[in-house]
Assembly symmetry: C2
Homo-oligomer: 203 residues x 2
């Protein structure tokens, strides 16, 4: 309903909101997918449709849709109408490595709150995963990660003892640990993620 209602009612887009047009369009599409207005398999509005809908140029629309393609929200190929891939992963799986960059790319302000940073003997189950000898000491880092002040996730990271001293100099409340470590010449050689979704609030 209301696909061509009068002059231009729908577009929740503003030219001087500080946020770029393509971000507003991308987030509008994301919202419509998240809210179920666009379901998996549904066709994504064509470039031409979005150009007219929001009154922007084609390049801007393409930039917006490119964001959704990058994280797998929509997909398809040349000639065909793009389709909604899935609501599943709003973020790329590997994006956890650079939470800060990911949140920033969504037009939000990343932050964090340190819950714990302590040296501990490694748990038996973790020893092999982290690649250290059973019984050795690891640093356990726990942070709440926020986007625009809204809690998004909790991440628990385990570092070998050798990394520990470098962590204390890092502003753990805001930055990307991996970016800082990279600046110290520490590269990620092996990565593992376990992702679970639990309700953070009851809607």
């Amino acid at each position: 309903m209301s696909e061509h209602t009068g002059s231009r009612p729908h577009p929740p887009i503003s030219r001087r909101s500080g946020q770029s047009l393509y971000l507003q369009i991308a987030n509008d599409l994301r919202r419509r997918i998240a809210e179920g207005e666009l379901r998996t398999g549904d066709p994504v509005p064509s470039e031409q449709a979005l150009v007219e809908r929001f009154g922007v140029s084609r390049g801007t629309v393409r930039q917006a849709r490119a964001m959704l393609r990058a994280d797998g929200s929509i997909g398809g190929s040349q000639g065909r109408t793009l389709a909604v891939q899935g609501v599943n992963l709003t973020q790329p799986v590997g994006g956890l490595i650079t939470f800060s960059a990911w949140v920033r790319s969504l037009g939000m302000r990343p932050s964090g709150r340190l819950l714990r940073l302590s040296p501990e003997p490694v748990a038996a189950a973790e020893a092999e995963q982290v690649g250290v000898a059973p019984g050795s000491v690891v640093y356990r880092l726990e942070r709440v990660r926020l986007a625009d002040g809204e809690p998004l996730m909790v991440d628990r990271t385990v570092f070998p003892e050798a990394i520990g001293p470098m962590l204390v100099g890092i502003d753990l409340d805001s930055g990307s640990v991996y970016a800082e470590l990279a600046a110290h010449g520490i590269a990620v050689a092996s990565a593992g993620h376990r992702i679970d979704a639990i309700a953070a609030h009851c809607p």
Copy 2:
């Protein structure tokens, strides 16, 4: 050396090679990083420099550099000269979920060869990871993944028994298992990756 040698010597770029200009530029940058000509921390050639170097428009250069930003090869922020992040991850960590799409985005042709697809009792160590009861049956999928015919990686995937029957109908040699499963209404709720690098050949 040879930054302005005569007319236009350097550019290993062709306008009618079937490959898009931005891909050729992106791959040239990737090559220079991989070969050590550009090391971690080094400044990436500015947009203006690349525009003159390759004789293309700024938009094309931006599209090329956007690819390297997406996979974390280069990074930085507004106003500053972008810098090489690291040679480490040539691909985004989460990209494994869509190997096909990743290879295609690099301008290469993805393919695969099925090594094994068999139902087996789950190993004790895997039971918890996959989230099934110890002793139950899982499907073990092993494939060699190729880019332009070149072996790139081996992936081993373990699926719960319920998924098994859906796998037989999928062309495991070419497609993305996850894309097919998504078409059957199966979403990824939990993902884990372990990535190790071993020599596939001796250079």
